[in-house]
Assembly symmetry: C2
Homo-oligomer: 153 residues x 2
Amino acid sequence: MISQTAEYALRAVVVLGGGNGEPLTTKAIAERTKAPLDYLSKVLQALGRAGLVDARRGIGGGYVLTRKLDDLTIKDVVDAVEPLRRITHCPLDLPQHAGRLCSLHKRLDDGIALIERLYAESTIGDLLRDSTQSTPLCETLEQISPKKATAKK
Amino acid sequence: MISQTAEYALRAVVVLGGGNGEPLTTKAIAERTKAPLDYLSKVLQALGRAGLVDARRGIGGGYVLTRKLDDLTIKDVVDAVEPLRRITHCPLDLPQHAGRLCSLHKRLDDGIALIERLYAESTIGDLLRDSTQSTPLCETLEQISPKKATAKK
């Protein structure tokens, strides 16, 4: 339903959000999100252009989130890389439908609006705190936290 | 949000549903839906395999709907050609998420479920009767009805 690009962007953001705030390199994020390195690199650049992540240069550099997790929604992330496409005009270019969609396309757009609203109401903070589900990419979060990884040995 | 195939299938079904019940040829449906003939032909065959349309052979032949308009939903049509893909297992194949999605993918799946429910509640009859919107493909419906077309001259 969402594009691969949006999927990788969301994975990257939850990995960054689930870490300890230290910058993570593209390579580290790629391993944790199971995203191809080159593809992810472009996704992170897009998130940077949208102001959702910041690239820190130098030793110990990498990407960090710029916003608090409760101020960052699924919609923000999706919009940054590949916004949901609402149906704003008649896909058949029928002149009679120029000012008003037909009932079919209105109904299809209603569906997209439902998803858009859900995404706008879902913060990354919500996802990371949701105790009714697995933690997003929890396996990879364990890799981020050296203490937990050590404890497992 | 839905595929081009599903879009064409829905257009074809509303054109058939908005007609007078006489069979319509693939060519006639292609003109009215603005869909490429070969592509539409495959879509109609898929709708036939799903039992939603019936192909009548011979002179005056063509496609007809097999169900009443109030027993035919957007979901039926979409499912016949390219069902919405719910997220049923972890896209990252994380072993910890095998039995339970993470909160990110659960939330994304919740969105798909919202759309699926809306489509299941929307019959083609609803769409054709909806007086708050334009009639689906109304321009082409006028072409189907010779009386209206004559009246306009």
